[in-house]
Symmetry: C2
Subunit: 395 residues, 2 copies
Amino acid sequence: MPDRLARPKVTLPQRESGIASTPSHGDLSDLPKLSPSRRLRRTPFSRGVEAAGVKAYTIYNHMLLPTVFESIKADCAHLKSHVQVWDVSCERQIEVTGPDAGRLVQMITPRDVSKISNGQCMYIPVVNARGGMLNDPVLIRLAEDRYWISIASSDLLLWVDGIATALGLNVSVFEPDIHPLAVQGPKADELMARLFGPQVLDIRFFRARELTFESSSYVVARSGYSKQGGFEIYVNGGGGMALWQSLMGAGQDLHVRAGGPNLIERIEGGLLGFGNDMTADNNPYECGLEKFCQPQTVDCIGRDALLAIEKQGPQRKIRPIAIAGDKVPICDRLWPVTVGGALVGQVSSAIYAPAQQVNVAIGMIDKAHWQGGTSVVVHCQDGDRPATVNEEFWI
Amino acid sequence: MPDRLARPKVTLPQRESGIASTPSHGDLSDLPKLSPSRRLRRTPFSRGVEAAGVKAYTIYNHMLLPTVFESIKADCAHLKSHVQVWDVSCERQIEVTGPDAGRLVQMITPRDVSKISNGQCMYIPVVNARGGMLNDPVLIRLAEDRYWISIASSDLLLWVDGIATALGLNVSVFEPDIHPLAVQGPKADELMARLFGPQVLDIRFFRARELTFESSSYVVARSGYSKQGGFEIYVNGGGGMALWQSLMGAGQDLHVRAGGPNLIERIEGGLLGFGNDMTADNNPYECGLEKFCQPQTVDCIGRDALLAIEKQGPQRKIRPIAIAGDKVPICDRLWPVTVGGALVGQVSSAIYAPAQQVNVAIGMIDKAHWQGGTSVVVHCQDGDRPATVNEEFWI
């Protein structure tokens, strides 16, 4: 029986010579094509995204997530200077409603959520009985017995509903018809105030409030998957395109345009991607999420495993890694990291960052080598590159 | 609180005039692009797939699934004449092992699995407490206390492990390092016999056996997601490419080549796609899976809901639909189906089938209109087309 906390299988470099398909992110024409189907769900904003000239997607929670409009590089520069509207409908909500809602929410996370107030957001690791990460969602309390869990890409609803069903909890667990729209960038405050009034600026980080625009009401949170600041608007399916067009119309002089989570910016900022940088093979401590774990005081699934991990201390950790040499190809697989020929870790996300003039990367590095300044070798599918483990992310 | 068994939201036609992106499946150049990342997992056969000139993918269980090599039309004709090797690694396995394995497996399906024998495969609907479909996997019993659940595209592991964890069952639930390779087509028997010997031909439909090739042992089942016959080989990650190359090498005179589940052939054959043709909004009775439901005798999750649905009878059903008129665009969203302007159903999968000289489709039609021969109108994103509800699928 496999140990689910064992090191994921990373084998030493198998150079894939003669394989044509290792495009870099600069060369969109080499990207593979996607076969659309109903199973890869469109969103209420898809028409706006298409009209804005989307160039590529990823699939996230069985849904289309736009990744590129002009180019990853140009999208990044624009995000850091202006304001973007992102179709992040794929951040699906799990609604948990009913008398046992609070109990169920606390069961699924080692973070102490007992003091969450209405309108508060909390980033919560969700782990299995072995302490392995199942998702890293944002929890929002809408009312005393009503929560949304805004999920990363795994069907966490099945976990939450499976537990509720098995235990016969008095709670309803379902995916509501809610589609988040993110407004991100340094001019996000200005654009949002034009639609929702100055009161939107009173929303503190990771707090949500119900606001009205053109007689529709929206939950608005100060949050988002970038380091540039901004908001996430939780939109009912029906009203999607009207709000999209209002934002685009009101922000013309702010150079507003469509965007999406940006690979350069998220790596520079150290924003982890579930499924990329962490999976069920990882515990929250090695993901740097120890401040969101209180297994001493919280009675949750995975408690015993987390107590043991906490006691021993993590044996490897997420680290920023600066990869020197040529621009890296697309990081579509784990890249082994070695020191003196011995495997000491893996890179899981990487791209060339023009602002840093280096390939920025996120990896998981063994304890003996995770100190800032350590020299390592990263084995990409097209060749090896010298690299340095950093202490801090770039932005 | 929404009724999860209520009709999914299908609104009447909103013609999307001026939107450039309604490509047909014949025109691959118009397909959107996919941003690769580690989260969209490669497989042990990806190098072979790339070398074979894959033209498009879908994402299935967070993994790359090739959809097109030459063209959907040419791939279909080849599949019906020769033999193809499919990288269906995305049919992930859930391994359920331990003293409570049998109990857990019966809890998750209304199909009576008490008489399953070692090496037997069973197609099992998995439903939630409301009777909504969560997945439609194939169950294989490997040993008395050891099963694989070979899943469609949803993280069913979270459901199964959530239930096991909540109840404290004595069972281990995990995703093993197993990657199925399908060998499909009329010459599949011949090709498989060349590798595994004539004993492979003794495997009956939906039975599995452990066979050896070049000193590696594989679970081989007579199964697959086509109507052309063939096998699925359950491959340990490590040995993937060697087996792929052996199959390609041994079948040259049989015109073996890479392929994948074919959209034309699966619709002609009435093979449902979870997430396309059925979701948690559907119960197994309306999906035509009543023969796999024994809620009277089986004590499973969803039993009460299924008993009620069975008593009332389904109010709508999966039906083959022949869509006349121009070739349909890509069916990337639900198409409303109307009679006299009133909504009576939806189409969820469709494509032009050269052999039938008609657009073949799978839809869900209300009871009053599901009889074979009923005339309906199907509202695609690029226009309306007359259509006929059929009694039987095409092949």
